[in-house]
Structures are given as structure tokens and as C-alpha cells.
Symmetry: C2
Subunit: 202 residues, 2 copies
Amino acid sequence: METQRSNGPPPETHEAIMDATCRALCEHGYANLTMQRISDELDKSKSLLHYHYDSKEELLVSFLEYHLDEFATRLSLDEYDSAADALAFTVDALFPDPDDSNDFEVTMLEMGMQAPYNDAFREQLQENNARLKDLFTRIFEDGIERGEFEDIDPERAAEHVLILLDGVRGRSVVLGSDEPNEVGRDAIREFIQAITVGDEAQ
Amino acid sequence: METQRSNGPPPETHEAIMDATCRALCEHGYANLTMQRISDELDKSKSLLHYHYDSKEELLVSFLEYHLDEFATRLSLDEYDSAADALAFTVDALFPDPDDSNDFEVTMLEMGMQAPYNDAFREQLQENNARLKDLFTRIFEDGIERGEFEDIDPERAAEHVLILLDGVRGRSVVLGSDEPNEVGRDAIREFIQAITVGDEAQ
């Protein structure tokens, strides 16, 4: 049982639990999430959750990790002919869809706001951010190597894009408006234009 | 008493209540804030708070409004010789100070995350945002008129700067790192440079 716990549940069970957590989060919000509500979505006994996770916090850290892995799997950079294409695809994948309900965005931001009070959340969110930042950094490095982009600092460029993405996400949720999304997309496009070789900055 | 309520408490009492709310928020965090804890900071009976505010929510909406007014008073744009100076000053005033404790930033973001669930918070936060955006828009308009800035869309430029500011704020709090602050300051500087007449964009 010790091994079972430290390795987590078997893959199918894990996926079912993560999907149930996602549904329960979107339905009830972070503040009202309980193990019971996750069980209800899972249609299995609450004891199954407690067998695999010591606490709601442990389950949610696992959920943050799962969300990252799922996202990383969707992004395979080998398929792109240019760094600009890889960048456009990655930004698109991360941009909130203004037509979707933003329930999921809201709960992810709520978990983010727990970081100052919860070391396990903070560490997992730092890990998620490090992976995303590394992805953008590699795209910028690749673009510089291919001669697509000017000789900029790839890590700072990655941070710049992530600040814009997080700014859009936060403002969309708090203000309930589409404008940050529109302006943010243009801002990222202009930033990329400005560092593209042969393209004139706006 | 009806008039008293709708006009709020007299100025000195109001200021004392707002200061107490600020201290209680920073000390206990949004989730653990109670009227009792605000009273403790105020060193007055809890009935004083209940006399002036029907609920904790009403008090917090008033706090958000007070915070905006206090900030707006600090910014008097007439004092500046150029739009660039006014912009630099305003950005500086809004940028989180990395040397300060970020307790206050955290609680403001936590209240922001209540917006999807709380119409009164959302409306006040929309109002705060509209005032800030209007301030930036007027600076950009002024800069265009004076011939300092290119003929850009001043409202979109204002939104661009606010996305960067909110992105920095969110990332600093969630990740507990100074890097967003550094990169975000440069990003705003580069954005202003890019729209400044006669300055070459990076």
C-alpha cells in the first residue's frame, strides 16, 4: 500500500479521478470543493479517493501536475517548420478561448492565489511555470539559431510572453470582458514582430 | 440613520475603518477576515462597523473604492512636463515594490478572484479598472497631441500597459519571484520606446 500511494493510483483510475476533480472544480468552484463532491462526480466511494490521496490538498497538487502533463503532451514542437509557427501554436493553446465558459480558468487562478499560503501548491505551480517557460525559451532559442529572430535573451522573451498571457487571463476573469484577450493577442503578435529579423517593429 | 448609512460614516471614522480593514486584511488574509478582526484593529466596538456597514461585503466594496480614491489623489498629472514623465510616474506608482511585503497585493488579488462569484465586487473592480484605464488613456492622448507619441490607439495602449502590470502582479504573487517585476518593467519601457516619435523600437 505504501508503494501504491507513492506511485499514485493506476493510470485509468488516476485519469478518472483527475477528470472528476476537473468537473467538480468547474461546478462548485475552488472554495466549495470537497472530497465528497469529487466522489460524486467519480461515481465511486469516497474511500477510493482517501485510499490514493491523504488529503484534498495532495489530490489538488496531483491535479495541477496532471493538467501540466496533459498540456505538455499536446505540444510537440518537432512538427513545426519555423519557430514562429511553434510560437503561434503554443500561444494559441495557452490563450483562454473567449467563447468558452471560463470556469476552469477561474479555479486555476483561485488555486494560484493559495500559493502564498500553501507551499505544496506554490511548488507545483512553480514547476508548471518552469516547464512552460522552458518551452517558450527553447522556441526562442531555436528561432535565434535559425536566424528567424534577433539575438535577444530567450529567457526574458519567454517571461515577457508569459506576463502578457497571465495578465490577459487575470483581467478576463476579474473584469468579465473580452477586451484584454483581443489587446493581449495583438501585444504578443507585435512583440514577436519586433524581434523578427527583417520585419519592422510597429 | 438611513441618510447616515447611505452617505457612509463621517470622514475621520471612515478613514479609521479603512485603515483597520487594510491592517486586518494584511494580517489575516482575505479568507480569514471577519468583522471582529477589523474591530480589533480599530479598537472600537464591532457595533460601530455594523452601524455603518450592513455586511462585510459592503465594507470591502467600500474599501476597494477608498483604495482607488486614495491612489487617484496621489496622481496629479498637471505636474508633469511630458506625457512620458506622467507615464513613468504612473507606472512606478502602480508597480509592486519587490522589497515590500506583498501581503496587500495578495489580498487585492484574492478579492479580484471573488469577482466571478460576487457582483458587487466585480462592479467595484470594473469601476477601479475603468478609472485607471481612463488615466492611462488620457496620458497617451496627451502624448499624441504633444507629438511625443506616434498616432496609436490610446485606449488599446492603456489596456496593453494594464495587462503587463496585472501579469507582473499575478506572477509575482503566485511564483514568489522578482523576475516578472524586472522583465515587466523592461517590457513597459520597450513598449513606450516603440511608440515614441523619433525613438527607434528595440
